[in-house]
Symmetry: C2
Subunit: 148 residues, 2 copies
């Protein structure tokens, strides 16, 4: 298998990874969730080459994860915003941040704090069951193929 075959696999991981399974794509998504929208801001924050940023943004737009909107005319300038499909990646980002906070933070601890606006608490993201609401760990889940 080549990675170009990933989108055609009958597996949701493969199909997702085809979109987000790239270092810089994930870093750009991080910044998007922090409110960054302009090309130049990505460049300044990430310090990577413009060609990589242009390429990744274009792919995300093609996938429907981002929308490219004009924010001024003369000259026309665009900004990149998460679509609903892109916003739906929030649990993925939260899970990645949380794992990094717990398992890869230095002595200084987590660099960022997340506050839940509704309850006012600083929180950790928890994966739970849509049906009963209980917290879910790897051992609680039984996987089987969906009957066709």
């Amino acid at each position: 298998m080549k990675w170009t075959d990933l989108p055609d696999e009958d597996c949701s991981v493969a199909r997702s990874v085809a979109v987000i399974g790239d270092r810089w794509t994930l870093m750009i998504l991080r910044d998007l969730f922090l409110g960054v929208r302009r090309f130049e801001a990505f460049e300044r924050r990430l310090g990577i080459s413009r060609s990589i940023i242009a390429d990744r943004l274009k792919k995300l737009v093609d996938e429907g994860v981002l929308r490219r909107d004009a924010y001024q005319e003369n000259p026309v300038r665009h900004e990149y915003r998460l679509t609903n499909k892109g916003l739906a990646l929030h649990p993925v980002m939260m899970a990645i941040v949380h794992w990094g906070d717990v398992h890869r933070a230095g002595a200084a601890g987590a660099p960022l704090i997340h506050r839940h606006k509704a309850c006012g608490c600083d929180f950790a993201p928890v994966m739970s069951c849509s049906e009963c609401g209980d917290r879910i760990t790897a051992r609680d889940v039984e996987v089987r193929a969906r009957p066709r």
Copy 2:
């Protein structure tokens, strides 16, 4: 910035991405969560070159995500198992699967079904607040830097 600098960034996303931000690493982790443990099985399932598998497995072992255990002597053969640090990636995988199920599945729908053993229901993974238990979306979260 080069990607080799990612582990040193003061950002949990960057530090996590340095470990899991790679297509084949994510595909290997998928199989690990499905119970695959042996080199030959990864090769058969993924159909990619042995050198990639060997490289990714070694990196995951170095990072403490996997443990390399002997399962027989004469000749000695090893298998790869998720450590607790690796099992902690479960929410990341579930979030990725779920996004793929919802936003990238074909007409046939999600290929796999997840059942919560405790409540017996087929479920979707939901990201919720560790403090109040409510479901969390991107708009519910306020991010700020942790004071030093």
